[in-house]
């Protein structure tokens, strides 16, 4: 087990009478890219705000790099880069001046290569432009530049691709993966674009109504999502006989256009293909059909509702 970079234990946060976070516990190891998945108002941003100290806690504790307590956390937060909700900067100052001010505030050398930093987030040559003249996407990118200012070891990014064009989304993804790969930066990220999230995250946490309902690695997620083997054959009857008698699979369904879906995870596609061919069944397609992150999440919520109805 690697070093625990971020740990949260029994976090609860109340707004009025309702819980925005309800007994949330989470552990993120060094080098992980942890994707936080949840609906609007599920508690993702609140969790991030609590971690970065923007919001106060009702109960529970947060640990960063093994530090906890007010003073320890304040010290540890200097090693963390945050971008939570819409970025905020001085509108009348240029991008470079805004970053320079934060360099001064954080005790970083002002001579730091700010133009290089801006270029790395896709803002080359606009260092002298006022923040108020920036487009929504450029503002997001500047927020990201502030987050990675000072080479943080942990990045907390809340919807970092909001307002970005497809090229921008791809650049942000590349940047996150590069920082993770080259500098070993640990990332806690949330996004509404679940497809995007699934392409970068190594671990996932599903949050619903302030509760962390599931936590799993991308391998586990992949295994759970890949739940059907879909094959199109020229002879359905023969294919079913092979499935039942040779592969021992009884959990399958026949669909129109000679398509069969096998829901038995133990059946290996390469063996099935060989057996079908040996028994004279022509296979025109054979593929693993699975749910994507979005479908898995929706399924999880439905299960949650079903469980809630039981009690």
């Amino acid at each position: 087990m690697g070093e625990i970079v971020l740990s949260a234990c029994g976090l609860s946060k109340k707004y009025g009478l309702s819980y925005a976070l309800d007994d949330v516990s989470i552990e993120i190891e060094r080098g992980q890219i942890f994707g936080l998945v949840g609906k609007n108002g599920a508690g993702k941003t609140t969790l991030m705000r609590v971690v970065c100290g923007q919001s106060t806690l009702f109960s529970g504790s947060v640990g960063l790099f093994g530090h906890s307590g007010k003073r320890g956390l304040a010290e540890a937060r200097t090693r963390v880069g945050f971008m939570i909700e819409a970025p905020a900067f001085y509108p009348k100052l240029s991008a470079r001046e805004n970053l320079k001010i934060y360099c001064m505030k954080r005790g970083l050398p002002v001579s730091e290569n700010l133009d290089g930093l801006l270029a790395s987030v896709g803002l080359p040559g606009v260092g002298g432009k006022r923040y108020s003249e920036f487009s929504l996407g450029m503002k997001e990118r500047l927020g990201l530049a502030l987050a990675i200012l000072g080479d943080p070891e942990l990045l907390v990014l809340d919807e970092p691709t909001n307002g970005l064009d497809p090229i921008g989304i791809s650049q942000v993804r590349e940047l996150i993966l590069r920082l993770n790969r080259e500098r070993g930066v640990t990332v806690l990220i949330s996004s509404h674009i679940l497809k995007e999230l699934s392409s970068v995250a190594t671990h996932f946490g599903f949050i619903h109504n302030g509760r962390l309902i599931e936590q799993l690695s991308s391998k586990e997620l992949h295994a759970r999502c890949s739940d059907a083997l879909s094959l199109t054959v020229d002879d359905v009857e023969k294919a079913c006989a092979v499935l039942e008698n040779i592969c021992g699979c009884r959990n399958y369904k026949i669909f129109p256009h000679n398509t069969i879906r096998c829901y038995d995870g133990a059946v290996r596609p390469e063996l099935l293909n060989r057996e079908l061919n040996e028994n004279g069944v022509g296979v025109s397609s054979l593929m693993r059909e699975g749910k994507d992150l979005e479908a898995y999440f929706i399924g999880l919520l439905k299960e949650g509702r079903a469980n809630a109805q039981l009690y």
């Binding site: 923007q54 937060r77 954080r106 907390v156």
Partner: protein, 246 residues
């Protein structure tokens, strides 16, 4: 905290619009002295200067709070500071110190303008007399009382976002203080006078009058009372800031 003060001073002082204020604070007394020079005796003009300076700086305290503290609040910039690992109290106190430093700078510019103008329009003796007044303990006390306003405005800003609301709340507090003092005056005349002096809610300052006031006779107490008031307000504001959601 020093990094925050340095960054804020850099931000405010590199803004061209900031330089309107020292120019205005230098021009205002100079214009008054030049305009009234031929009409009134030097003594009358010199006596009016502290009241003018005090009134101008009370307004300046509000404007500086806008520059140092409220702008960040309205733009939602404190979340960046919190995320950077800054202690909330340190940020709050740093903002107050930045305001005090800027007020001191403006006070120096205004005093210099007063002295130069008095020397030029009213004669060298008047300039020298004003220089002595400006360098006195009473003038320092007056400056600290202006800073009490700064601390009050900053503390109120945590709760009230709109400047108009801030002014209204300040007027309401002043009225409540005046009413309380009227009531206290009947019961304990000495205590009411003391509160009126330290809080700066009473009459505009006057270097000479302050020196003659019974509670000011102690000298150092003249500085300690408003200084204590600033510290208490800073502590209260800091505690409120600790609880604030960003």
């Amino acid at each position: 905290m020093l990094n925050y003060i340095k960054a804020d001073l850099y931000r405010i002082m590199t803004r061209p619009t900031f330089y309107i204020w020292p120019l205005l604070l230098a021009a205002l007394p100079a214009a008054m002295i030049a305009g009234a020079g031929g009409m009134y005796p030097a003594g009358v003009i010199l006596a009016a200067i502290p009241a003018l300076v005090y009134a101008a700086f009370c307004l300046m305290a509000l404007i500086l709070t806008e520059h140092t503290f409220r702008e960040d609040m309205q733009l939602g910039l404190y979340k960046n500071d919190m995320a950077g690992g800054a202690s909330r109290s340190a940020v709050y106190i740093a903002k107050l110190i930045t305001g005090i430093l800027l007020l001191a700078l403006l006070w120096a510019v205004c005093s210099l303008s007063c002295i130069v103008s008095a020397s030029y329009w009213l004669g060298g003796d008047s300039g020298l007399s004003l220089l002595k007044d400006m360098a006195s303990l009473q003038a320092a006390s007056l400056f600290l009382r202006v800073n009490v306003f700064l601390a009050v405005f900053q503390a109120i800003s945590i709760v009230f976002k709109k400047t108009s609301a801030l002014i209204l709340v300040y007027i309401a507090i002043s009225a409540a203080m005046a009413y309380a003092m009227k009531w206290l005056g009947a019961a304990w005349p000495g205590l009411a006078g003391f509160i009126k002096h330290i809080a700066g809610f009473g009459a505009y300052g006057n270097f000479g009058a302050a020196a003659g006031a019974p509670h000011a006779a102690g000298g150092v107490a003249l500085l300690l009372a408003p200084a204590a008031c600033i510290i208490v307000l800073a502590a209260i504001g800091s505690m409120m800031f600790e609880k604030k959601e960003f």
